[in-house]
């Protein structure tokens, strides 16, 4: 159990900065997920917390103690690696007990804790096997057990599920969540998979290009993305974004020649401004005819529990999720209704969300559940 404080942490390799001043605070016992595309610096940040990477400037404190100059072993963190990093020449028991052995824990005590931990992760029957004789899922468990056994203050996960097949990933995800509830140690989990992020996080940190884009509860991040990057990164299929100028007279935006009404609270202040407007596919209403935005159906993805219709509006792609009752086929012309309470408005230049307090804080959940798919 520990609080983690990251203050103005920077990292550069030579002259190339990879992290530009990160400020974050993780509460004790929180499950934090750092989400971002590859190369955004999320792993670097994790490794800086672990002590595997130097901190170029700024501070990282664990439990109020600045750890910048401490060796990994002195920080009280345990880490689960993407490729598991099991010691290939040691048995499962040897892998699990290695940290304890290094720490000088006497053998009987060590064996007791190995047996205990093995029970938690369901490896009791495999203690004498070498990693090479285990399946992917079992290796993953050994990696977890190796972290758990140390009873660390902080768990660090570096994309631990990305080497597993889709089905196993779902199971392990649930297990990690359960394990966290049981151990309630502060956990920092790095991933590029938004489903993992949404399902696991108490606190979601979205990163891009060495900056923190947004921090918040996953649903908050989903419903009120702070930037066009977050808006397009979270949610599948991705949010539709289009650029428009807000007409001075009507205070409306335009898409495909048709006016798109904006929430009145925003509209007034945006007259004459260039904005980016976003709407999630699940909030876009498709009708076969009507006065809305004209679109042409490009192709349709059947997902079983729904369909995604991909359209073209003035040649630009636009997606919407529709029920099975609506009959459309590629080439059909349809009409889109973009309900103003679901519109997200961003400053076109900075990409930041505009005046979010004027938009409804909680989008009505009964309207349409977010459709997340496992890639």
């Amino acid at each position: 159990m520990a609080e983690i404080d990251i203050r103005a942490a920077r990292k550069s390799y030579g002259k190339n900065p990879t992290l530009h001043g990160i400020d974050l605070n993780f509460q004790s016992g929180e499950f934090v997920v750092i989400l971002g595309p590859s190369g955004c610096g999320k792993s670097t940040l994790l490794r800086m917390i672990a002590g595997l990477e130097d901190i170029t400037s700024g501070e990282i404190a664990i439990d109020g103690r600045v750890v910048n100059r401490l060796e990994p072993r002195e920080r009280g963190c345990a880490m689960v690696f993407q490729n598991y990093a099991l010691y290939p020449h040691m048995t499962v028991a040897g892998n699990m007990g290695y940290a304890l052995k290094v720490a000088g824990v006497p053998k009987p005590e060590r064996e007791r804790r190995i047996a205990e931990t093995a029970k938690i992760v369901g490896l009791s029957d495999y203690l004498e096997r070498k990693p090479a004789a285990l399946s992917g899922g079992q290796r993953q468990r050994v990696a977890m057990a190796r972290a758990i056994i140390r009873e660390p203050k902080v768990f660090l996960f570096d994309e631990p599920l990305s080497n597993l097949d889709a089905k196993l990933r779902v199971t392990m995800r649930a297990e990690i969540r359960k394990l966290h509830q049981r151990l309630s140690a502060t956990s920092v989990f790095v991933t590029h998979d938004q489903v993992e992020a949404m399902t696991l996080a108490d606190k979601l940190v979205v990163m891009n290009k060495g900056h923190v884009e947004q921090v918040g509860h996953p649903l908050d991040v989903y419903h009120r993305p702070a930037s066009t990057f977050v808006a397009s990164f979270i949610g599948a299929p991705a949010m539709n974004l289009f650029e428009s100028r807000v007409e001075v007279e009507t205070a409306s935006a335009y898409l495909g020649g048709a006016p798109v009404r904006l929430p009145s609270s925003l509209a007034a202040s945006l007259r004459g401004k260039d904005v980016t407007i976003g709407i999630r596919p699940e909030h876009t209403i498709v009708a076969t005819k009507g006065p809305g935005v004209a679109a042409e159906v490009d192709f349709i993805e059947e997902l079983g529990a729904g369909r995604v219709v991909h359209m073209l509006v003035e040649g630009e792609p636009f997606a919407a999720t529709i029920g099975e009752d609506l009959n459309v086929a590629p080439g059909d012309r349809v009409s889109l209704d973009l309900p103003l309470e679901h519109l997200h408005v961003f400053n076109r230049e900075t990409g930041r969300r505009i005046d979010p307090s004027d938009l409804p804080a909680d989008a009505p959940a009964q309207h349409c559940a977010p459709l997340l798919t496992t890639p």
């Binding site: 490794r47 672990a50 002590g51 595997l52 060796e71 990994p72 072993r73 963190c77 345990a78 880490m79 690696f81 993407q82 490729n83 598991y84 990093a85 099991l86 010691y87 290939p88 020449h89 290695y98 940290a99 290094v102 720490a103 190796r146 140390r150």
Partner: protein, 295 residues
């Protein structure tokens, strides 16, 4: 599958048998000769069938070339060289790969350039160093501080002298370096997270993991050590330290009497046997080491 034509197959076997005659034939001649009597071996044509005289010839050679001592010395020499090379190259590679020391490029190149300095081209001054190990240090100290120190350590006619100059190894160091580079970064990171320091990591992770490499390196280095010729020839004058390669000269048949090649061949065969066994029995490792060290 590619079709097999009987002619092509027959030709293939013909080539392989020809290769057998060329490469293994000499061994058969040696074996046949080593088992013949003085009279048999000097008769023309040569008999390729082994006879029953091997033990007599071997014991004659054994006595004439003092093979017991020579073989003992060769084992000590090859053993020390092998152990030294395996240990030192692992240590150097560890220093080069797992630390960001500013000296690591220096270490690397210092080892690399030795490839261009074979013994033959630096034989006299190397001999001088062996004769007076501390001379470089004495001169350096005198040069830097002006103080004359008089310590001497003569390596001539000693196991240290037979082995120390041959232990530095670029190929071994590169083999280990190559191997360490293929290990995933996470291995060291996981060990660090588990609280292991560099020395513990070296002994508990790297050494156990490099067993395969070590065995491969051991086989080629043993053969290398056993087959050393020029260096022992120069530096050993005391027969106590002479090696098998040196005892070859004692096996040359005398010019005056009927040449007893049977004894010579028996002795040569004995001398060839240890490295031959290594290559034959541990061929998998030997070949692996050979191919790997050329990377």
């Amino acid at each position: 599958m590619i079709q097999r034509t009987p002619y092509a197959d027959a030709f293939t076997y013909f080539v392989m048998i020809l290769g057998f005659i060329l490469l293994i034939g000499p061994f058969l001649v040696i074996i046949a000769g080593a088992t013949q009597t003085l009279q048999q071996i000097n008769s023309v044509p040569f008999r390729f069938m082994p006879q029953g005289q091997f033990l007599e010839n071997a014991s004659a050679a054994w006595a004439r070339a003092d093979l017991a001592r020579a073989i003992g010395n060769s084992f000590v020499m090859a053993g020390l060289i092998t152990v030294g090379k395996v240990v030192l190259s692992a240590m150097t590679a560890f220093a080069i790969v797992y630390f960001r020391s500013p000296l690591r490029h220096f270490f690397f190149w210092a080892v690399f350039i030795t490839l261009m300095l074979p013994l033959e081209v630096r034989v006299v001054p190397t001999y001088n160093v062996a004769a007076d190990m501390f001379e470089p240090f004495r001169l350096l100290i005198a040069f830097v501080t002006g103080i004359e120190v008089s310590v001497e350590w003569n390596l001539l006619n000693s196991y240290a002298g037979l082995t120390l100059p041959l232990i530095a190894t670029a190929t071994g160091t590169f083999l280990y370096r190559q191997f360490f580079m293929t290990l995933p970064d996470e291995l060291a990171e996981a060990a660090r997270m588990d609280g292991s320091g560099p020395v513990r990591f070296f002994f508990e992770m790297l050494l156990p993991l490099s067993r395969t490499n070590m065995l491969a390196l051991t086989t080629i280095m043993f053969v290398y050590g056993w087959n050393q010729y020029l260096w022992p020839l120069l530096m050993v004058t005391d027969p106590t330290y002479k090696t098998t390669m040196m005892s070859l000269s004692a096996l040359v048949p005398s010019e005056n009497a009927t040449p007893d090649w049977n004894v010579t061949l028996a002795g040569t065969l004995i001398i060839m046997t240890p490295p031959l066994l290594v290559v034959a029995l541990l061929q998998r490792w030997f070949v692996r080491g050979l191919v790997a060290t050329e990377k």
